[in-house]
Amino acid sequence: MTLYILRRLLTGLVLALLVTFITFLLLGSSFEAAAYTILGPSATPQSVADLMNARGWDRPLVVQYFEWLLHAVQGDFGVSVYTSLPVAPSVIQRLLVTLSLIVPALLITAVLSTLLGVWAASRGGAADRTAQVISLVGYIVPGLLLAIGLVVIFSVQLKWLPATGFTPLTDDPLAWVRSITIPVIVLVVGGVANLAAQVRGRMIDELRRDYVRTLRTRGVSTSSIVIRHALRNAGSPALTVLSLEFISMFGSSLIIENVFALPGYGSFAFNASLQGDIPVIMAITAFGVLLVFVVNLITDLANGWLNPKARVQ
């Protein structure tokens, strides 16, 4: 198990290095553009060259990357090119806003999908058809349109929920719940559509396995067979899907946040990219990779717990 975790840690580390390095290389061409933006209309080739020299942007990219990396591993992500404020605190603050959408959405998705998938697979018939229709509808409605549709109904027409804005959980829990309700619903609809279908499929496969029949011949109750045995075995692959769902939700929320004017990761990344604020972009990338890394690690640990074979591999 330790070896397994170590290997996953190593893979994650390489992933982080590779993604940040490639991003840095790709951004390399835009250093000059950033200098022009900073200097504004009065920029001349000479002043741009001077600024690039002063900031060290004219050095080889590899050297600059390793300098960035050296500071980053010590928690120093530099300062914004435009505001001169330290990058890390604002990135973390924006990430927390987005996470406060995704984490509840993911938990609700996991619970609903498990219930729906298990119900459909173990009951069959009308239950199964209902679950499939729910999945299909969730699948074909674009999240962006659903978000706007819900805002029109619940915020504009009924005025039950705020249309825009965000209250941090620590300020006012109730206002926080109200501010994330619609975005979370949108994320859950999309998530359940995918995950419930996956749980259903895995459960159907699992319930057709030989050990299920053998357990039945021993008089083991149906509920134990479905929940203790089949669901547990279906759980391990479903968990992998859930971790991918997290990443998918992260991507979706970047766009959906915009509908609600939430000060999340998406608008932050968008503005930084628009301005070519390279230290901010690099920090956003690094934290994005870190997040993926943590999610994968949690998934691996949970898989090891669920699946005895994974522990020895």
């Binding site: 061409s29 674009p142 299920v212 992260f250 979706s252």
Partner: protein
């Protein structure tokens, strides 16, 4: 929108070798014919064709440019002369912008999909066909691509793409590639093991031609299916990014139109409606078309069904005759059928009569597919849900089992009828320790406490010949050998001292040396507990050792029955003679080989 159908992050259902088989088989009925019969496919394809045509015919349908503004037409309502669907906040014609947006969406879909397909297919071919190192390297690269949130990357790379949707979609195509890669690689791995590739290699075809001819042919179905979903995802993401404001405002797109309509929501709600409607129709059509394509290419997936639902029964007369009390089991005129894809039903067991006395060992002999296992499962009440008992009766210890409720059947199964399976490994739940599973079985069929059940299981494990019962008790199934697993399953089966033990090919999956030991164990336990045993097997050698009586099954019917001596000395039916003959020839060579189906087809 990226939500549900974002294959960068969605695991694509990976077809195994069966899917390869079905894909190849279903190619006999042309896929387009199946699609034409499916209204969902016809409607979605028509909608998509109409929409794409509208986009292509843009110059003929409108005289307005997508960015041409008319200050007099700002927020013009629907139906304003010259502005069919009205105009937006800058006085641009909404109808014209919709048409141009279609073209943007089509280009986005083409770019994203084709890059994903090219990268994914090439990666899959390379990763699946070549050696281990190439294989793990490609696997690593693609899982790396898959784990990164694509939309974030596209936003971050705006300085590189300058926000232009075309390079953006090219990058997005790469991010979509892992889904395709997985499909292709798994199919290639499957195909590689199929004989025809080996044969092609032997006959001197080069590697590239092998890949080209065989693999791409097999792979085309899943790829066409995936392409529909990829196109939908590409359009969704392009719209989402445009909605965010990524890219030039000069490019008309659904996302930009939705954003503009959203800003104007209170003033002119319909402005938001048109692009949303069209985008919704396009993405929904692509998803639904993908589903139709999947059905057409891959056929029906296994259906969900209620567990333990008693099989549908259509009992017929003849079942109610007086039952001989000496018989523990009396099966009369049993027939089992399965519904066919074509609509009818196919009988796999018909007119089976079988009696088992108390304490008697009866062998049910036949080749695989002869219906012997189905007969055994019917007696246990664990037939698959789709099975139908079309006629007959099974009386166990004076009680009719056909049509018995699942709850009553369950108490019988745990206590009085027990079962030993063929393949020991797949019959243990891989997630639980062996002991835990056995204890659960014991406690389900008795009122024992956990500690009592554990003691019983440990003593039974010792009884079935396991040297270190505690260790096996604490092991996971993958940690013990097949022979050990079979012993553990036998221990679980006899725990409740059943009156009837049904053993379905109990030695077939085991090593030859272990087979004899397991048979000895069964014989000893049978004598010790005075159980009746129904031994289902294809192997006359096994039957000769342990059975009092034998019934021979072929094509769903019992063709001959009698005492072991009678059958061995004077086999009447040619099929029995053939089976006996084949064991005499093969016994010394392959003790576990199923008898060859040479004359099996005397239908």
């Amino acid at each position: 929108m990226t939500l549900p159908n974002d294959p960068t992050t969605r695991t694509v259902r990976v077809p195994g070798t069966e899917a390869i088989a079905t894909a190849t088989r279903s190619s006999r009925t042309p896929v387009w014919k199946k699609l034409l019969r499916d209204p969902q496919a016809v409607i979605t394809i028509s909608l998509l064709v109409i929409i794409v045509l509208l986009g292509l015919l843009t110059p003929f349908l409108t005289s307005h440019g997508p960015n041409q503004t008319d200050l007099n037409a700002i927020n013009a309502p629907v139906g304003t002369p010259g502005f069919l669907l009205g105009a937006d906040e800058s006085g641009r014609d909404i109808f014209a912008r919709l048409l141009h947006s279609i073209n943007t969406a089509v280009i986005a879909a083409l770019l994203g999909t084709s890059v994903a397909l090219v990268v994914g297919v090439l990666g899959g071919l390379v990763g699946g066909y070549f050696g281990r190192i190439t294989q793990s390297a490609t696997e690593w690269i693609f899982s790396l691509i898959m784990t990164f949130p694509g939309v974030l990357l596209l936003i971050i790379l705006m300085p590189v793409t300058r926000g232009d949707y075309r390079p953006t979609m090219l990058i997005f195509g790469v991010l979509l590639a892992p889904g395709i890669y997985r499909i292709v690689r798994n199919l290639v791995l499957g195909v590689k093991n199929e004989l025809y590739v080996d044969a092609a290699r032997v006959s001197g075809l080069g590697n590239l031609r092998i890949l080209g001819r065989h693999v791409l042919f097999v792979v085309r179905g899943p790829i066409i299916i995936a392409a529909a979903f990829l196109a939908g995802t590409s359009i969704g993401v392009q719209s989402g990014l445009a909605f965010l404001g990524v890219g030039s405002i000069e490019i008309p797109s659904f996302g930009a139109m939705i954003a503009s309509g959203f800003r104007n929501l209170y003033i002119a709600p319909t402005q938001f409606l048109w692009p949303s409607l069209l985008l919704g129709v396009i993405t929904a059509s692509l998803v639904l078309l993908g589903n139709s394509l999947r059905d057409a290419f891959e056929g029906a997936k296994p259906k969900a069904a209620r567990i333990g639902a008693a099989p549908s029964t259509e009992r017929t007369a003849g079942a109610d005759e007086a039952v001989d009390a000496r018989n523990l089991v009396e099966i009369r005129n049993l027939a089992i059928a399965y519904p066919q894809a074509s609509g009818g039903i196919a009988e796999v067991v018909r007119g089976v009569d079988l009696k088992i006395n108390r304490g008697e060992v009866v062998g049910l002999v036949g080749e695989s597919g002869s219906g012997k296992s189905q007969t055994a499962f019917a007696t246990l009440g664990v037939l698959p849900n789709e099975a139908i008992i079309t006629s007959g009766s099974i009386v166990f210890d004076g009680q009719e089992l056909v049509g018995l409720s699942e709850a009553r059947m369950r108490t019988l199964r745990g206590r009085e009828i027990a079962y030993i399976p063929q393949e020991p490994m797949s019959n243990l739940d891989p997630s639980y320790r062996v002991g835990v599973q056995l204890v659960e079985g014991v406690r389900s069929s008795s009122s024992m406490s956990k500690a009592e059940a554990k003691d019983l299981v440990l003593s039974l494990l010792a009884r079935v010949g396991i040297a270190d019962p505690q260790r096996t008790f604490d092991s996971y199934p993958h940690e013990i050998s097949g022979g050990m697993a079979q012993r553990a399953l036998i221990a679980g089966a006899v725990a409740s001292r059943p009156k009837l033990l049904i053993a379905d090919e109990p030695t077939t999956a085991l090593d030859v040396t272990v087979q004899a030991e397991i048979l000895d164990l069964l014989r000893d336990l049978q004598a010790e507990l005075d159980m009746a045993v129904l031994l289902v097997t294809h192997n006359f050698g096994v039957v000769a050792d342990v059975c009092d009586r034998i019934a021979v099954m072929q094509n769903g019917s019992i063709v001959e029955a009698g005492t072991t001596l009678e059958i061995f000395d004077h086999p009447q039916h040619p099929y029995t003679q053939m089976l006996l003959g084949s064991i005499l020839e093969e016994e010394s060579v392959r003790a576990d080989a199923p008898p060859a189906a040479v004359e099996g087809d005397t239908k």
